[in-house]
């Protein structure tokens, strides 16, 4: 055994003999303070209903995006036809067309 090992063992053995440092129970008011701080810092965990609602909202958004994407051409086509339809329904345009 080296000098270091021997010395270290003796020092560690002596260190182990030192009395434990003080009382191990929580000081007065410590647990109340910690419990209050813990719940003040922590937002309440969402309820099952809130979590389900959030998931449902995400799914609904995705479905809406998919629906728009699938029907995109139909939607834009409907707006293109509007001007023609509007022109056919416009009596003034009809009069002007007849005059020309």
């Amino acid at each position: 055994m080296s000098t270091f090992d021997r010395t270290w063992r003796k020092l560690a053995a002596a260190a182990r003999r030192t009395p434990p440092a003080g009382d191990e129970s929580a000081p007065y008011g410590f647990s109340t303070r910690v419990a209050a701080l813990a719940f003040a810092a922590q937002p309440p965990s969402p309820s099952a209903f809130a979590r389900l609602s959030l998931r449902a909202a995400v799914v609904a958004c995705l479905l809406a995006i998919v629906a728009v994407a699938v029907n995109f051409s139909a939607i834009t086509g409907a707006f293109d036809d509007d001007s023609a339809v509007a022109a056919n329904d416009d009596p003034i345009a009809e009069v002007i067309n007849q005059g020309s």
């Binding site: 000098t3 910690v34 701080l37 813990a38 810092a41």
Partner: protein, 196 residues
């Protein structure tokens, strides 16, 4: 809570998860001896043990929903305590070196006696021996210090250290081996340094 009744940990945890402050207080009271022992054993310089214990408990409450029950709750809390201590030790600068000039007169005498004398250190010198041990340990990295502290001062087994820290047993053994070699180097540097 009545002293003679065993502590209902599972029931208390359920109530804490429902944000019952009385249960949280009971849990802190119940775990305080465990947490303060770890905090005192690995307390960095200039950090009050109560502040460190408070930080450990706050971390425990923040993560309490993550506790799955795979390990005993006290082990889970010990790991939080150990990692918090390691983080705090990391934040403080390690002692650049340890020289004779850093030791008090009594500490020098105790070290001399431990080196030259065949007998154990006298009981009256236990506090100085403890201070010497901690001055040497302060030079190690937080993880190395932790392993040596558990092995040589708290006399825990490799399996116990593994359970407390979450490190596997091989890692604990390797860390202990390397830490001892470093400790030996620091000791050599100290004894070869110039005496005042």
């Amino acid at each position: 809570m009545p002293e003679d009744q065993p502590f209902d940990l599972a029931g208390c945890l359920d109530r804490v998860r429902k944000r019952d402050q009385d249960a949280a207080r009971d849990l802190v009271e119940h775990l305080h001896p465990l947490v303060i022992r770890i905090a005192r054993a690995h307390l960095p310089r200039r950090v009050a043990e109560e502040d460190l214990a408070q930080e450990i408990f706050l971390k425990m409450f923040t993560r309490i929903d993550q506790y799955q029950g795979n390990v005993p709750f006290t082990h889970w809390v010990s790991r939080i305590a150990v990692t918090t201590c390691i983080d705090q030790l990391r934040a403080q600068k390690r002692r650049p070196e340890l020289r004779w000039a850093d030791l008090s007169e009594r500490e020098t005498q105790v070290l001399d006696s431990a080196v030259s004398n065949e007998n154990d250190v006298a009981p009256d010198d236990a506090l100085e021996a403890r201070e010497l041990v901690h001055k040497l340990l302060d030079r190690l990295s937080p993880q190395d210090r932790l392993v040596i502290q558990y092995l040589d001062l708290d006399q825990k087994t490799i399996a116990e250290i593994s359970a407390l820290t979450g490190w596997n047993q091989t890692l604990v053994k390797v860390r202990a081996f390397r830490a001892r070699r470093k400790l030996q180097r620091f000791y050599r540097e100290l004894t070869e340094s110039e005496r005042l």
